[in-house]
Symmetry: C2
Subunit: 346 residues, 2 copies
Amino acid sequence: MKTRTVVAFFIAALLMTVSLVAYGADDSLKVKNIGSFYVGGHEITLSELPVYNDIFTQGGPVRKVDPNGSFETGQMYVQYVQLKNPKAKYPILLWHGGGLSGATWETKPDGNPGWQMFFLKAGYNVYVSDAVERGRSSWSRYPEIYKSNPIFRTKKESWESFRIGPTYDDDPAKRIPYSGGLFPAESFDQFMKSAIPRWTTNNQATQEAYDKLVQTVGPSVIVVHSQSGAFGERAVLNAPEKVKAVVLLEPSGAPDPTKENLALIKNIPHLYIWGDNIDKYPTWPKYYANVARYRDALIKTGVPVTWIELPKMGIKGNSHMLMMDKNSDQIAEIVQKWLESQKIMK
Amino acid sequence: MKTRTVVAFFIAALLMTVSLVAYGADDSLKVKNIGSFYVGGHEITLSELPVYNDIFTQGGPVRKVDPNGSFETGQMYVQYVQLKNPKAKYPILLWHGGGLSGATWETKPDGNPGWQMFFLKAGYNVYVSDAVERGRSSWSRYPEIYKSNPIFRTKKESWESFRIGPTYDDDPAKRIPYSGGLFPAESFDQFMKSAIPRWTTNNQATQEAYDKLVQTVGPSVIVVHSQSGAFGERAVLNAPEKVKAVVLLEPSGAPDPTKENLALIKNIPHLYIWGDNIDKYPTWPKYYANVARYRDALIKTGVPVTWIELPKMGIKGNSHMLMMDKNSDQIAEIVQKWLESQKIMK
């Protein structure tokens, strides 16, 4: 080998080294840290409830149970994945909808990657939380602490209200999805394993925990879905200096715009995304109208609003569970391109 | 530069490349995939419960609630982090104890890294599950589906039964931890935010889900704590061809050895670890005696058993929550060295 050839090869090897170090030899994520924490909540003390006996563990002895005492209530669980070299200026916070948990954003019911992985690969530090009373956030005794009974959403109501299809049946073969529907209907029972009971009386605690999360994480992008839509709008109003952009996937509620000082959030860009068949389930036109009223007030105030109805873009068949639909990556890319246009990337 | 020098430099550069690619230029994790799935569970249908009205979302309309219908019950949530280049032959499954969730294994209440990160850094694919009825696994209506009432462990019972200290008080300044105790007592209220209600009547569903997890993941190492000790022992008996080693942190129960064919698990190495002050809370000597009886039967059968009582090794002050104590890394290293000795690493 002549010197010139060796030197050329050497330079090529060095360039390859730099390339390998900078971009990785593969598509794996370079992760700095994975962890979790709890925000919010407070102590509450119960007294004068009856004492009883129980066995707690297989093969274990009988133990006395005294339910009286102190507990934590109102806390929220948050799990994060932080990248070694994030490409986004701010982390992204993923807030799930009603009767669900943070699992909403992870692997989809059909086994394909969800939005947690999408936004990690796009270069964000991703924070997935379980709303107060759901999942790892835990829940409290009722009616002593929570002031209502839990609600368990049925498969039928989920199938219909999430707009997977017009007709549910316990026999999967007899279920009718919407024509061209993009929810992986064959994985519906698997999806329903992620359903979590909910209460209707914990909105204040939930909002406080979300607000505390924003203060804890600092400047961030918030992505909300369905029930967390109203919490997300309120979180923006409560911390306009922290929220750099908000993405609202089919929010099921919004604050009353006549009671808010929307000028406070004049610089916070809002992206709304709606799926298909909104008019096919009775609550959705009502939710939509509430949110559209808020949107109109935002626009009137000068808040930058992008309002996407996917069918009007030619993207048809999306259910309420946009992040689980077969084209979830396509929807995520719309979100990502919009975030890029808001200068969220470094 | 002479040819020989260039060639030597070239080889050095190539070696550096190999080194950088193999080990990374930093201490970040190379993660192939982060995801989750549900195992186990089945459909259950309720009927003839009363219908009522409720408001589901801030600013939303009144909705009729019909609790009758079909639900999933008995499923278990499992979250995994898979490395690009695992150094262990098998993934490690982390099973939490009673009244808690998979958050047990993540960041500790004092904010320091827990065992999930320890074993990721040690080169394992790590699977953290929430037991049936806990956390993201969700829970079902009682008494219609679950056949008992939930139990909410008080702060006082947790402080005392987890052997953090002899004396609990709602005033943190008046709580007395054990002298030399290693649980981060100043973070106790934070820890209690991770407490999750439990039932006493779901053992069969829980065992079935754990067994299904082992079948789903395949050959693996299982690490169990407290209540999951009995589930872990049973999982070993149910899948001796899949479980390559089992680590039992203060298991609170064990099968009846006179009723089991322990010869089936003759080749499965067992590591037991116990913390300090076992004799200071009345249930622990009973649990310990149950487990020691099972251990004796294992040893008699020829099962490889390592039985560690940390105080006898000179490691004093550990609570029941070994993976959250200030020396959690030290305990994890004991586990890791033992796993290395069992030829679990590549």
